[in-house]
Symmetry: C2
């Protein structure tokens, strides 16, 4: 399976030996080939995309691209509004719903010259009730969720990048399953205006064919649309800069390690050994009592995350009942029941617990270059009725910390990601650490 | 002009000498009488409201009201979504737009048994370009803005309460102009889901016929829908409790005092004298060097507030251009130009400045029971082309502090409000202070 990075191709646009329109046509050819079985998209805007690619072709020819991602075909997770396509939320309650506007991120991408090709499939309201997207590495497996279509489209080599959202494990996990790079930013770093992921630690992020494509995409958005209102937004520079060798990494078990696939665990252990061989110090909970205490404190993080998002999801799920009382899945009913049990006081206690975990984490992570762990407990599960376990992803989500997955491992023939997690607002350093690890272990 | 409080009427519902349906019919009679000239509403849901009032009538008769505001007719500012009426944002770009869902606040109100009567007129996108709503005390004057229709409907005695939003002065100022009580909560205290006021210090609040009606309405929402995701929400108890005499108040000039109407200034000074007579200590910038420094630091607060909201309003205003490129007012273009000049770095500096002001304020306000000032520089301006000056309101907005306006003053025959401002999350104490001041000076 070949990923199709975009930034690496733009040199040819400058030289005139390739064009954004040709790049798009290759993407459309790939789409025709795989989409009937992959089912990554819920809507496509092909004529408009061709026009946008032609406009970009002119700009590259005249040496005036609007940004490094000018002309880049991109997919938009179907909880994020686009003015020219429906936003269907992966739910019959919103089937065909048109807001008539672009989300802040989409508007910024268009300003940067990107080509909005289509809406990518999501689980119901970006939760856990699955969609029918298949894994590009094995059509009998899930692509993961909730950003299923975005991960599948990038993993299949259709697109160089696609927007996703993550509140539990919805970017890092499907990226891992589909062999793509994935990035969930510091909470608040990318403007969520017009994205229907309302929860307090949810983020818009990018799934992509390379670290450079992802960074350029995220930066192009934030440069134009900022972060969430009241947030400073993604901190950094347009050019990612050179890879930086980490001095120290912290191996992070998360509550997932004990029950992860032994092959996945072995894969990560070998990778950590390789890093040690080239002079990187790799610590763990056994070296540092505060890390041991932190891992222990995180044992209920999935429960904590589920409680917070169930409470914050009562609306709009409650209101959706008016438009289609039969259209909400059993899992949404479960979530509503959880929220009712929790109540406002229980929710407030969860916010306090989250704040304490964040404090613990920030103190620890600033003593190393990054935390390192698996991106999922193993390869993508068989079938499409379960999107897999987010247990390796919930921690970074709840902590509001930036996380990156690198497609560096295999379980049999299936891809598996290595996950790096950094301190809040150190996203760019995390990318540069990730670049180095990719080169050193590839 | 008679305000029509609801909570005071519910005793009769219990005794059976009045019903919510009769209450609604009286509201509809008043509506028929004044709305043709008042122009407070942009949409009405009368048949649905009658059904809701009939259901409420049953509940009161059987002694099972859903909340203290069960059956209360309420208006919803037209930037807040309702599943059964369009949300038109006071802009031709959204004329007739139906989201098909209730905002979190509206859903909660329905759960509490409230009767959603209609959508109330707003200035363009809750900004400064006016709507055509008239002042119920003088049809040749503005009702203020941006929550124009909500303030006019309450001030005219049609409704006991209506939802508004405030990011500069959009609740307190129109309430003052229309002779209503008004409340802007601590930032984040009332869930904004489905309300199109995206700015980081914007709030949903309540305009009402009494302090008790407002508190009951706000509490009923937050009990069911919480605050903004990640916020603890409005802190307090369902019953407001007894009035509390303040020991110390801080007279707060704001940057508005120097240019306020002399009659307005005299009115407030007389009220402060009366408070002193009954044993309340009233301090000012002249008694406290840190207050002097704070007032000085606030001299540019309007500029600061405008910068922050212009940057945070680029989206969705930018995207609205796609749906209707001729539909944005000159003032929206001005705001976009301001944002472009500011840029992301300038915006970040504004956030930092805001955080510093908040720190200064919280230290000062916790030494007194409340800050006290005018709610506007004078009575409502003549004409409907200008909604008046928010200079007395921007401070509380930027500070994220709760503010209440009490219709205690007059300028000629026109009403003018007295504004109380408290520390973040002390909303209930501020209400109890306000109750006492109302009784002591009425």
């Amino acid at each position: 399976m070949m990923l199709t990075p975009y930034l690496a191709a733009t040199d040819k646009f400058r030289r005139g030996s390739d064009t954004p329109r040709d790049y798009l046509e290759r993407a459309l050819d790939k789409l025709d080939e795989v989409e009937p079985r992959l089912k990554a998209f819920t809507a496509l805007a092909i004529p408009r995309a061709r026009i946008a690619a032609d406009m970009s072709t002119r700009r590259w020819k005249s040496g005036t691209p609007l940004s490094p991602i000018d002309g880049m075909p991109i997919g938009i997770k179907d909880v994020i509004e686009t003015f020219d396509m429906p936003t269907s939320m992966g739910s019959p309650t919103y089937e065909g719903w048109c807001s008539g506007r672009d989300a802040a991120s989409v508007f910024a991408l268009r300003e940067a010259g990107a080509v909005i090709l289509g809406k990518t499939k999501t689980t119901e309201y970006a939760g856990t009730y699955p969609t029918d997207t298949r894994n590009p590495h094995d059509y009998n497996r899930t692509a993961g969720g909730s950003s299923a279509g975005s991960a599948a489209a990038v993993g299949a080599g259709i697109l160089p990048a696609a927007l996703g959202t993550q509140v539990m494990g919805s970017i890092i996990r499907p990226s891992s399953f589909c062999g793509a790079y994935g990035y969930k930013p510091t909470v608040g770093a990318i403007n969520r205006g017009g994205s229907h992921d309302y929860q307090s630690h949810s983020c818009i992020g990018v799934i992509g064919a390379s670290l450079e494509d992802i960074w350029a995409t995220a930066y192009a958005i934030v440069e134009r649309a900022g972060g969430d209102p009241g947030s400073v937004g993604l901190i950094g520079t347009q050019t990612l800069g050179a890879a930086v060798k980490p001095a120290r990494l912290m191996f992070f078990e998360t509550p997932g390690w004990a029950t992860a696939d032994p092959l996945a665990r072995e894969g990560l252990m070998r990778l950590l050994d390789r890093l040690r061989e080239v002079g990187v110090q790799v610590l763990s909970r056994h070296d540092e009592p505060r890390m041991e205490a932190f891992e222990t404190a995180l044992s209920d993080v999935r429960e904590l995350g589920s409680n917070i998002i169930s409470f914050e999801s009562r609306w709009p799920a409650n209101s959706a009942k008016y438009r289609d009382s039969l259209g909400l899945s059993p899992l949404m009913h479960d979530s509503a029941a959880r929220a009712a049990k929790l109540g406002l006081d229980g929710y407030r206690a969860c916010l306090e617990a989250r704040a304490q975990l964040r404090q613990q984490f920030e103190a620890l992570v600033r003593e190393v270059d990054a935390f390192i762990t698996l991106s999922a407990p193993g390869a993508a599960p068989h079938g499409i009725q379960w999107t897999g376990d987010p247990i390796f992803n919930v921690s970074a989500s709840v902590l509001g910390a930036p996380a990156i997955t690198l497609p560096l491992l295999k379980v049999g023939s299936m891809p598996l990601g290595v996950q790096l997690i950094g301190a809040q607002h150190t996203d760019q350093q995390l990318f540069r650490t990730a670049q180095w690890i990719r080169s050193a272990t590839h």
